[in-house]
Amino acid sequence: MILIMNWFSKFAIPGLIVIILILGAFRNIPVFDAFIEGAKEGLTTTVKILPVIIGILLGINILKESGALDMIVLLLSPIADLFGFPKEILPMALLRPVSGSASLGLLNQQLKEYGPDSYIGKTISVMMGSTETIFYTIAVYFGAVGVKETKYTLWIALIAGLAGLISAIIICRIMP
């Protein structure tokens, strides 16, 4: 089962490209010309999101490098204790919504520290795999189209992220 899925995941991108191109050629589309036309649009989109990405990284890196993020983890650990959450998962819970690369680095470090098959190791793996970098995604997607008023998007995303977090903690406990 896992083997099939791994194979499928490897096949997905080249397979999709080949299918799309063959279908295009079959329909008499100048595939290369169409590709170039689309790729040009990709160029403008990337240039548009560059300022947003720099801005978001600035906020995240300042928070991380100043040690403020560690301080927040320390402040929150009594609350985690109160709810019976293992406090080892707090750094991941806080970092995951803000930075994908930073949380991946943290996962790497924590897996080595606690062991990948321990309860903590499993829980942080599930958290990493089942949630997204909420702040980054919202800022980049809305920034790309110039929407300023995002209404309650962030609240819903945060509530959903919290639900994912709590379920990761519980599921790893009942499905060891």
Partner: protein, 197 residues
């Protein structure tokens, strides 16, 4: 909203850095962020161009039409605003598919494409539409079939069963996606009521 969060992040970082005497690190962070942003975009640029090009071929060949027609019922249920707009529906679907397959960097350009299509239908250009909000929150709580990077890291850390966490990942992300959809309906209902009063 993001304006305040962003300002808060920076202020908190600088103030805390001053108290703890880590202003040197903060200065370093400012410079590296700018560099990191550019290199991230450079990585993204290639994939973005490649993917947009392939998408253009798919659009011309009518493949997107076929895909959207076949999943029209499901999509129009969630996104009534985009009913009948094939490029918007196609972009949303392909982005979900890319997320589901864990294509990571391939999903971002598709997501931005979907947002651009939704923005074309938007009457107030600076305000998010219901469809945009739902699209964003489903995206942010993505259901992912195979989180390849997590499995790779677990393997590297010497796990006996690196992909053994997959069922837990599926259940957990399904719960968070369902929560996102439920709260989307709660928030929009509250918003409508508030506007009526």
């Amino acid at each position: 909203m993001l304006n305040y969060i962003w300002l808060g992040m920076i202020l908190l970082g600088v103030i805390w850095g001053t108290i703890t005497g880590r202003l040197g690190n903060v200065t370093q962070a400012v410079i590296t962020s700018a560099e990191e942003g550019v290199s991230l975009c450079a990585v993204l640029l290639g994939v973005m161009c490649m993917w947009s090009g392939i998408m253009k071929v798919a659009e011309r060949s009518g493949l997107i039409n076929v895909i959207t027609r076949s999943s029209k019922g499901f999509l129009s249920l969630l996104f009534p605003e985009v009913l009948g707009n094939r490029s918007a529906m196609g972009a949303i679907l392909l982005c979900f598919a890319a997320n589901f397959l864990g294509l990571g960097n391939a999903a971002t350009p598709l997501g931005i494409k979907a947002m651009e299509e939704l923005q074309k239908l938007n009457k107030r250009k600076n305000t998010a539409t219901d469809s945009m909000i739902l699209f964003m929150v489903i995206n942010a709580s993505c259901i992912q079939l195979i989180p390849t990077n997590v499995i790779a890291l677990r393997n590297a850390a010497g796990s006996a069963d690196a992909s053994g966490i997959l069922p837990q990942v599926w259940i957990s992300s399904l719960i968070s996606t369902l929560t996102a959809v439920i709260f989307y309906y709660i928030f929009t209902a509250m918003d409508k009521r508030r506007r009526l009063i």
